[in-house]
Amino acid sequence: MTVLVLVEHAEGAVKDATLSAVTAASKLGAVHALVAGDGDAAKAAADAAAQIAGVEKVLLASDAAYGHQLAENVAALVVGLIGDYDAFVAPATSNGKNIAPRVAALLDVMQISEILSVESADTFTRPIYAGNAIATVQSSDAKKVITVRGTAFAKAATTGGSASVESVATGGDQALSSFVGAETQKSERPELTSAKIIVSGGRALGSSEQFHAVIDPLADKLGAGVGASRAAVDAGYAPNDYQVGQTGKIVAPEIYVAVGISGAIQHLAGMKDSKTIIAINKDEDAPIFQVADLGLVGDLFKIVPELTEKL
């Protein structure tokens, strides 16, 4: 079996989510990596992808139409290439989730979303009901279209591979959509989905000012990424891309510090695979303590600054 993996990249670098997708794909068969992008950045990403352990070949599709990963254009490209492949695998990032189902429908295939494991060539596990249940599903489609939950698979090594890079014909612009602009949060902090440590704040922080005044110094001290519960995001204390949970980001850092987060089902769905969970909450019966390895009951406005100082 040969598998085509969609490489997620930015500014010439391969994103970590790709590495987990490569690991998942290599359980199915030989891995070829597809870099769709524009110009020098795409070329640099393809060269980086060629170094990933386990990648046998890199396909580079360089065209202005792929510069912003528009699903209409990238899906058409993938469909043109898929004849030689038995499966298409994408990371379950916002980009992968946007593109993969479009590919699947064009191929008349039912996608298997956010797989947690590869049981056999046609059988996979995946979370349903916000991770409250794990389904084992078997696909009867001839070709498989799969997205991979990054936290469920080890990252392939970024070195050790020596794949060839082959340029492929591009499908051009489908002229259905165009990129207008992006507002990306420029931050010195690590990205949530790849951070080793995450400090997350909940509604108990009370305001945007207090959220940043309490959470940011601790995160800076630990070199941590900053997350938030949906309640904190809904209340406007933190931007949406901080959101950890069923409808936000799924994270599994080495250490997850939950500050003033009660532990609603939908939040737990996003972080319960973290290696060590530390909870600080004034309510000793908060559900977060049922999953926390280390808990401290008390006033977060006293505890967190003291902790920041003593670390």
Partner: protein, 249 residues
């Protein structure tokens, strides 16, 4: 223009799902069911577009069991004009739903289809993108802002690093994210009125669509449980533990 809004009947957002003892699925007997929260946001957005004069008619559609009528009545009570139920007592996968919706799009020719980005039961996050593929239309997924002007719709999308805005040529497909709007509650008079709004009942066969599943669910199991750890007495004890773990110097 017409707006088509697909809605799904799912387990209520506040209910903790329980896996059946025999491992065949999640127990839905005597469990509160509601409209999928992202679909409520989709209905609300369609209503707002009608209030702005962009939309002229809102059609709610659901693929599901007879009881999905209740979900469609909720959409009608919120403000949809009419509804279509495509009856299937068996679960229909996103690919099958997308094919049914494509057939309805061909009939109704809506300028926009607004869907929830994912249903909170199977968490697939596929139907909107699949419908866009099957209809050859552009897609604006995970929308936090939707603005129609002329023959274009501008969609601001929630993406991993922040926000991204794309411009789509109408007709188009949009899927909703949480921050797009806050859905209204249906008023009692509107709930009463909704009872007399038209609700057509169809079957997949009426549209000539094969909805046989492609995925077979072999088992459904509880996720591995995390056990509660220990509570420490104060910050000093927490710092000591963190040092043991090598986090702090």
């Amino acid at each position: 223009m017409k707006i088509l809004v697909p809605v799904k009947r799912v387990i209520d957002y506040n209910v903790k799902p329980r896996v059946k003892m025999d491992g065949t699925g999640v127990d839905l007997a005597n469990v509160k069911m509601s409209m999928n929260p992202f679909d409520e946001i989709a209905v609300e957005e369609a209503i707002r577009l009608r209030e702005k004069g962009v939309a002229t008619e809102i059609i709610a559609v659901s693929v599901g069991p007879q009881k999905a009528q209740e979900t469609l009545r909720t959409a009608l009570a919120m403000g949809a004009d009419r509804a279509i139920l495509v009856l299937s007592e068996d679960e229909v996968e996103p690919l099958g739903v997308a094919k049914l919706l494509k057939a309805i799009v061909d009939e109704e020719q809506p300028g926009l289809v607004i869907l929830g980005k994912q249903a909170i039961d199977d968490d697939s996050n596929q139907t909107g993108q699949m419908l866009a593929a099957l209809t050859g239309r552009p897609q604006g997924t995970f929308a936090s802002k939707v603005e129609v002007s002329g023959d274009k719709v501008s969609v601001t999308r929630e993406v991993d690093g922040g926000l991204e805005t794309v411009s789509l040529t109408l007709p188009a497909i949009v899927t909703t994210d949480l921050r797009l709007n806050e859905p209204r509650y249906a008023s009692l008079p509107n709930i009463m009125k909704a009872k007399s709004k038209p609700l057509a009942q169809k079957t997949p066969a009426d549209y000539g669509v094969d909805v046989a599943p492609r995925l077979k669910t072999l088992t459904v199991a509880e996720p591995p449980k995390r056990s509660a750890g220990i509570k420490v007495a104060d910050v000093d004890a927490l710092v000591a533990k963190l040092k043991e773990m090598g986090v702090a110097a």
